[in-house]
């Protein structure tokens, strides 16, 4: 200890000498470009990081080896030398048939996992023929209203060989049920299939705002899926706790980190209270982060996330199994950072953001297409996005060694700063009684909104730069890229299939199974078995969600 202190004061003396002599001389010749250097999160970055900035960081305690607690350097001992990250491009538009064709195209081009984007009616639990769905069917994702659509979506895609991630939240339990019934019809064993359900309802109230039921009932549905998957679909990840949308809504990197991890803790708390076994359900909780513009801030965020999760699981929940402590996460590049102006510049942004995700040790990655600020991606744009990952993986050499940035004064200092900032947020949220209570009070929502506004103001003052927008803008810019247009006939196509489905099914069986869903919800039983039964009878998404609405009611957002 004494030696450490001496070494650290030696370092301080050396630093002081550098500042007095070399730095002063340099500043005398060339002053700095600006008085404040900030990240895209408006966090201040110091001129230099050196041993004095990591004096309190211990290699054994805080950094350690890859594959070892606290997993700062990654959960795999060999980094990406064993297996590259999964290249999982989020896709979905128009009819299930159109999206099925896109899936097959991406798989043929070397993509290694699928990720489904559903349209807004699906996200809100409405069928394509609901009046509320007008103008929205197949627009922001693929239109799915019943098992018949889901069968078309996965036609020719063996679910026991391809892992599928589904971005669906408020009605997630219904989509899990549809997925399982499709697997059943393909004769795929539930014990063997894998995949991920986003199913993170807390971030919906915080940021993405696609909710249906009041928050506590919605949490109950999430826990139902945990319990069901633990017992029947053990290799499936029933949740992807998502910071992505919190960030897109305006959060800083630190807020994304803090709220996402605190959400994760909340799910573990609720699972434990429902009597689930920590060692069995927590290893299947996965995470999902944003990859934004500020390269090192992002990398520090991922490293801090792993460290915090490992420590909280061990120290707060008493985990002993390392799989409980190892955080696995997906990353997507920041849609919000893409510009309509000079859209080909987005290819460069995406490449750099993706590189941050890889250097941060992500398990899977989606790279945005350059045309996403304009519309859903065309085939060509989606292909370049996939190729970007393949270039990072196979040309740059960054996957040759585990955690190449470990030990960097800057990265380690930033990682520790992020961890401390997140723990401060945890304290504030704990003082409110937990994350559900904090969300009910509007706390994370307000924090995110404030950050979004601060960023906008910084941008308009010229303190933050977006190339092609508030700097290097071009007056007579041509619209240079073709965009994907969704045919308004998608709705007709979907409504026709719904009508056919309703005509062909056994409507008394539908009524009976919907009633069972209602009863399970009323009694507080696990709703998954009844939901699966209803799906098997081709009860529609809208019908099942409506049965649950009868029991739970709907969420009304408080004014914030």
């Amino acid at each position: 200890m004494q030696e450490l202190k001496e070494a650290s004061s030696q370092d301080q003396l050396k630093r002081n000498r550098w500042e007095e002599i070399t730095l002063q001389k340099s500043l005398g010749r060339q002053p700095e470009r600006t008085s404040k250097f900030q990240t895209v999160s408006l966090a201040n970055i110091a001129r230099l990081y050196d041993p004095t900035d990591v004096a309190d960081v211990s290699f054994d305690r805080d950094i350690s080896f890859p594959g070892e607690f606290p997993y700062t350097r990654g959960i795999h001992a060999t980094g990406y030398r064993g297996k590259l990250w999964t290249m999982r491009q989020f896709a979905g538009f128009g009819t299930p048939e159109e999206t099925n064709a896109r899936f097959k195209y991406l798989l043929k081009e070397g993509q290694t996992g699928l990720s489904v984007a559903y349209d807004l009616p699906a996200l809100m639990g409405y069928d394509a023929d609901s009046s509320l769905s007008e103008g929205e069917v197949g627009k922001c994702g693929v239109a799915v209203s019943s098992l018949a659509d889901m069968e078309a979506l996965f036609e020719g895609i063996p679910l026991d060989q391809v892992t599928v991630s589904q971005t669906i939240n408020a009605p997630a339990s219904v989509f899990l049920a549809m997925y399982l019934v499709v697997a059943e019809k393909q004769n795929a064993d539930w014990k063997k299939i894998s995949g991920t359900l986003q199913n993170d309802i807390l971030k919906e109230y915080i940021a993405q705002k696609e909710w249906i039921y009041p928050i506590r009932s919605a949490m109950k549905l999430v826990i139902d899926t945990f319990e069901f998957c633990t017992n029947h679909v053990p290799r499936y990840n029933p949740i992807s706790v998502s910071g992505y949308h919190i960030r897109e809504a305006g959060a800083t990197a630190l807020q994304e980190l803090a709220f996402t991890l605190r959400d994760g803790i909340e799910y573990v708390d609720w699972g434990m209270r429902a009597g689930l076994d920590l060692e069995r359900f927590v290893p299947r909780i996965s995470f999902f982060f944003n990859a934004h513009n500020d390269f090192f801030e992002e990398i520090a965020k991922y490293r801090a996330a792993r460290r915090i999760w490992a420590r909280v699981m061990r120290d707060q929940f008493g985990a002993v199994n390392e799989r409980v402590m190892q955080m696995r996460f997906h990353t997507q590049t920041a849609g919000v950072s893409l510009t309509v102006q000079q859209p080909l510049n987005n290819i460069v942004r995406v490449a750099i953001q993706a590189l941050a995700g890889v250097l941060g040790g992500t398990q899977s990655l989606h790279t945005d297409a350059y045309d996403e600020a304009l519309a859903l991606p065309t085939d060509r744009a989606a292909l370049i996005a996939l190729r970007t990952q393949q270039i990072i993986a196979e040309e740059t050499g960054v996957a040759n060694t585990a955690d190449p940035l470990g030990g960097s004064y800057f990265v380690e200092a930033l990682t520790t700063e992020m961890e401390q900032g997140a723990l401060d947020y945890f304290d504030r949220i704990d003082a409110m009684g937990g994350m559900v209570e904090a969300v009910e009070k509007g706390f994370p929502q307000r924090e995110v909104q404030d950050s979004a506004y601060q960023y906008q103001k910084a941008l308009e003052r010229g303190e933050q730069t977006i190339v092609g927008v508030n700097k290097y803008a071009m007056a007579d810019e041509l619209q240079e890229v073709p965009i994907l247009v969704i045919d308004e006939n998608v709705r007709n196509h979907q409504v026709e299939r719904l009508e056919r489905t309703r005509a062909q099914r056994d409507n008394s069986a539908v009524e009976r199974t919907l009633d069972a869903v209602r009863k399970a919800a009323q009694r507080g039983d696990n709703t998954m078995p009844a939901t699966i039964d209803a799906v098997r009878e081709y009860a529609t998404l809208g019908e099942i969600c409506s049965a649950l609405r009868d029991v739970y009611g709907i969420y009304e957002e408080p004014a914030i």
Binding site: L120, P121, L123, M124, Y126, L132, S133, E134, G135, E136, K139, C140, E204, Q208, K209, E210, W211, E248, A249, G250, V336, T339, V340, Q341, A373, L374, A375, Q449, A452, Y453, Q456, L459, E460, I466, V469, N470, Q479, I483, V485, I486, E557, A559
Partner: protein
């Protein structure tokens, strides 16, 4: 009330099923900071609800935020409902992700201006200030 003292009243509206309200909320706050009275409808308002709110709040302008691609369905309906209830001078502006091809048609249908991603909040405030009809 004299136009020079009456604050410009703006309804910021978010129709459709989409929950991406970052833009709507930033704009609402920026217009407030620019000295306007702003009423935000909250999420998932139907065109009927938006028109009713505009009438009830007696606004000078309606700012619609749509990122989902549903603008061709929702915007013309909002404009015609406003006109039907006699709000012939009420300025309607749209912000969001709107393809170039749709812009001319939306303008023909009565949307005064379409603000695409990257527009500064000051530019929007200035447009509203310069284009709302003076009150008696």
């Amino acid at each position: 009330m004299d136009n020079s003292t009456r604050k410009i009243r703006v309804l910021v509206a978010k129709p459709g099923l989409d929950g991406h309200d970052r833009g709507a909320k930033v704009i609402a706050r920026a217009l407030r900071d620019a000295g306007m009275e702003v009423i935000y409808t909250g999420l998932r308002q139907t065109p009927e609800m938006i028109a009713a709110a505009a009438l009830q709040e007696d606004v000078d302008a309606v700012g619609v935020s749509i990122l989902s691609g549903a603008h061709n369905t929702l915007c013309p309906r909002i404009v015609s409902l406003l006109r039907e209830q006699g709000m012939t001078d009420t300025l309607v502006v749209l912000g969001g992700i709107v393809p170039q091809e749709d812009i001319a048609k939306l303008k023909e249908q009565g949307v005064a201006e379409i603000f695409l991603p990257g527009t500064s909040t000051q530019e929007i405030a200035t447009f509203i200030r310069e284009n709302v009809k003076p009150r008696e």
